[in-house]
């Protein structure tokens, strides 16, 4: 009886539907009292891990699947770990760093290094991350991690297949490219980053939310993992894009012609 451990990276970000505002100091966006939720691509990652487990169970595979959700961030990151647990993850790891309601200054390279330390401890067969976080849109973490781990990477994946067999050795992925689809076959362990059309995440049921409260969340600090958080990038300024000038409505064709001729001076 072998075991496939899937590590899923999840990040707590400002909710996709919120209108963001630049903060007064112009160093970032306003985060205090703003609705946060799980990064949509990470949610898709959790859903995919659960579907892999369901497929294995349905095929009565000799391999059991364990899903571990991991998040790096301030104390409130626990909320998205609870979401992942409620969706079906077995346990979670929280690398606590930073303070709530403050700017997130952790960079992809640092996150990848933290994940790499966790990978060394957990020895997962597969790591799934979102292709990018919707707050910084870096899209680098999964790739850097694969480099640090020295394993294959399949990025922007919209279809994922792992054979439900004893100790699977490979996985097949498809991703959308200009003009078609690209199919990759990688050896496990591998890092996969999810794209939007991979799946549609399930709603979290209330009974599962209650059950999730009992699942363990293991807390660590970067020091525990022996990583020094050093920012190599400094944000100089953040400002909003220039306000788009409103158009005007004209009441008649004559007025339109008049404006084109005399104001815009194009005819």
């Amino acid at each position: 009886m072998s075991n496939l451990r899937i590590l899923v990276g999840v990040k707590r970000v400002i909710d996709y539907a919120v209108k963001v505002r630049v903060n007064r100091a112009q160093t970032g966006v306003e985060v205090a009292n703003v609705k946060h939720s799980i990064n949509p691509f990470d949610e898709i990652g959790v859903e995919e891990a659960i579907r892999i487990r369901e497929r294995f169970a349905k095929a009565k595979s000799p391999t059991s699947v364990e899903i571990v959700a991991v998040s790096c961030g301030p104390p409130k990151s626990q909320e998205v770990l609870r979401t992942a647990l409620a969706m079906g993850a077995d346990r979670a790891i929280h690398v606590e760093y930073g303070k709530d309601n403050e700017q997130n200054t952790i960079e992809p390279l640092v996150v990848a290094k933290l994940f790499n330390e966790i990978v060394k401890k957990e020895q997962p067969g597969l790591v799934i991350m979102g292709k990018q976080a919707i707050d910084d849109d870096s899209g680098q973490c999964g790739q850097i991690l694969a480099g640090l781990m020295d394993v294959s990477q399949a990025t922007n994946v919209s279809k994922l297949d792992v054979e439900p067999m004893e100790a699977p050795k490979t996985l097949t992925t498809m991703c959308e490219i200009d003009g078609g689809m690209e199919t990759l076959k990688c050896e496990l362990p591998a890092v996969v980053t999810t794209d939007l059309r991979l799946n549609e995440p399930r709603f979290v049921s209330l009974p599962n939310l209650v059950k999730a409260k009992k699942k363990p969340i293991n807390k660590l600090t970067p020091a525990d993992l022996g990583i020094d958080i050093v920012s190599k990038l400094e944000t100089l300024k953040v400002n909003e894009p220039p306000v788009r000038k409103a158009g005007i409505k004209v009441e008649s064709v004559d007025e339109l012609l008049d404006k084109l001729r005399n104001e815009a001076k194009v005819i």
């Binding site: 909710d15 539907a17 609705k35 939720s37 799980i38 709603f203 979290v204 049921s205 209330l206 209650v210």
Partner: protein, 570 residues
């Protein structure tokens, strides 16, 4: 795609609205004229309306059209009970149009080609037809004022010349109150859409009556406020219309009635007097509160041109859960329990039955957020200031009343859940002709009327619950959903078409049932043209008599939205 609206009226002839027709069929025209003008083989999507008494003419016409090869023909009976145009009202002539153009400017007077203007018949269709496509009028003129002064001049002129006026906002009303019955001039507020001011300390918003509700909510949202009402029609309805119909909606539970939220109004009376009562004060006890008369008056005693409304602070922590429940009693008990546990943060409590859920899931082609199907569904929304406190919704699972549930993770899931409830009216309307009853009943008996209606229709042989698709019963479904928190049920019966036989079985049965429990025949939809005759089931003669006095005081010539609101004085 051509949509033909065919009006069959007793003692007159089919009037055809079609882009290919320049003018309607005149007196004496017969089917021959119609088939000559109309390229029958390319005709699709004909909806033939008939006022009562003209059904045989309508059916005859439809049969002939089908015989000639036209496709997709629906017959509907118009909901009107008025067959006679009041001859007191002046028929519009060129001098009237000239006056309107002098006051409003030519671009803001829409005149049909029949009356010498530029508008195709279809351009006027949107103003003449209500949202349900159940009520259709024949106005030839639509006016678009941009200020209270312009409204004043128009109304004064109409009052002096006894010209009937139909006031219109977003035209999303469900009782036919927003469309003309005959040829009343449509006074549309859609071009009066400016926000006048927002007091950022108190949250008092002053705006034109033609502002769209959703736009206002977006605007005040930027400053951390929220409108105190929210309804499915928010993308199209006007705040002036909401005020004039005393709209309810999904946040009633939390913010209460517009009678409480409206701080002031700017109204133009039928004789042209402009009443400026636009105050932004929260508290003002000085004399008779006249603005309250206009809240819910449905345009019958004056035109609302400006609204001052108290917005509320936008809650920062909103949670939504959808629950699956086994019976109506469980729905009711869950409500009572939620009231206790969630207390001040409960902001909405809606329910719907399995039939509605099936229809909406099919209509939107989406799957049930719960893992199973249940006889009843509940949507709970909490709005507060504190994230942790607000997860109390999980408590509702702990007492066994609720079988299954899901809590939204993020705003996208919140919208998806609300769209399941808000989409019910739209999707039901797509499945067939919908008889809608909006009633207030004591919460304990709320769902009993759905059962009783089903039994009545089954006994008449026109409906069978869970009938197979092959069995063709005229009534397709009986649905119940609504704002249980406010004791407000929306009873919807969907049939193949509006039919006198079905109407007679439902009315006055539904109204008498409601009267028996001392409920209201119109909880939030208002009276319009649909309900004046059933006002008596909720309000007694003395009250109606006082209402008539008020109407006569403000509108002695009866030009404002005639034929509607109050029953005919016999």
């Amino acid at each position: 795609m051509r949509n033909i609206y065919l009006n069959c009226v007793k003692r007159t002839e089919p009037v055809i609205r079609n882009p290919n027709f320049a003018r309607s069929a005149k007196a004496g025209a017969r089917l021959g004229f119609v088939t000559q003008k109309c390229n029958i083989h390319s005709v699709r999507n004909v909806t033939a309306f008939s006022k009562s008494g003209a059904d045989s003419l309508r059916d005859d016409f439809c049969t002939k059209l089908r015989g000639l090869g036209a496709k997709n023909i629906q017959s509907r009976m118009m909901g009107h009970v008025v067959s006679q145009r009041d001859s007191r009202f002046k028929k519009l002539g060129k001098e009237d149009l000239d006056y309107f153009k002098s006051v409003l400017s030519e671009s803001r007077v829409l005149v049909s080609k029949e009356m010498g203007g530029n508008a195709d018949p279809t351009e006027l269709d949107t103003f003449n037809t209500d949202w349900l496509s159940k009520y259709v009028g024949h106005s030839q003129v639509v006016l678009f004022p941009t200020s209270a002064q312009e409204v004043s001049k128009v109304l004064k002129y109409c009052n002096e010349n006894t010209i009937a006026v139909c006031v219109q906002g977003g035209n999303t009303g469900l009782v036919g109150g927003s469309v003309p019955v005959f040829d009343e001039v449509v006074l549309s507020l859609s071009k009066m859409d400016k926000v006048r001011s927002l007091d950022k300390d108190s949250g008092a918003l002053v705006c034109d009556a033609g502002c769209i509700l959703e736009s206002l909510d977006d605007y005040v949202g930027e400053f951390g406020f929220t409108m105190p009402i929210d309804l499915g029609a928010k993308g199209s309805c006007h705040i002036g219309g909401n005020v004039s119909t005393n709209a309810g909606g999904i946040r009633y539970l939390r913010y209460g009635s517009l009678h409480g939220s409206v701080l002031g109004l700017e109204v133009v009376l039928p004789d042209g007097t402009i009443i400026n009562n636009l105050s932004t004060l929260r508290k003002d006890s000085t004399g008779y509160d006249i603005k309250q008369l206009f809240v819910g008056a449905e345009g019958t005693i004056g035109v609302v041109t400006g609204v001052s409304i108290a917005t509320a602070r936008r809650p920062t922590s909103v949670n939504v859960a959808v629950l699956g429940v086994n019976s109506y009693q469980d729905v009711k008990n869950t409500y009572i329990q939620s009231r206790k546990d969630l207390c001040e943060i409960l902001s909405a409590f809606e329910f719907w039955d399995a039939r509605c859920m099936d229809t909406v899931l099919t209509g939107f082609n989406t799957s049930n957020p719960l893992s199973g199907d249940y006889p009843f569904y509940v949507l709970i929304e909490t709005s507060g200031s504190n994230d942790e406190h607000d997860e109390a919704v999980e408590k509702t699972m702990e007492n066994g009343l609720v079988q299954d549930g899901t809590l939204a993770q993020g705003k996208t899931q919140i919208s998806k859940m609300w769209s399941l409830r808000e989409g019910i009216p739209t999707v039901l309307a797509q499945t067939g002709a919908t008889y809608k009853y909006d009633i207030s009943i004591p919460i304990n008996q709320l769902y009993d009327i759905v059962h009783d209606t089903e039994v009545r229709l089954e006994n008449a042989g026109i409906y069978k619950k869970d009938a197979a698709p092959s069995e063709n019963y005229p009534v397709k479904s009986v649905n119940g959903y609504g704002h249980i928190g406010d004791g407000n049920l929306h009873l919807n019966i969907v049939a193949d078409k509006f039919d006198d036989k079905i109407t007679d079985l439902l009315e006055p049965f539904v109204y008498e049932w409601v009267e028996n429990v001392a409920g209201s025949v119109s909880a939030e939809h208002g009276l319009g043209i649909m309900k004046p005759e059933c006002l008596k089931y909720t309000k007694n003669d003395q009250i109606v008599s006082v209402m008539r006095n008020i109407k006569n005081m403000f509108d002695p010539n009866g030009i404002m939205n005639p034929y509607k609101y109050l029953p005919e004085n016999k």
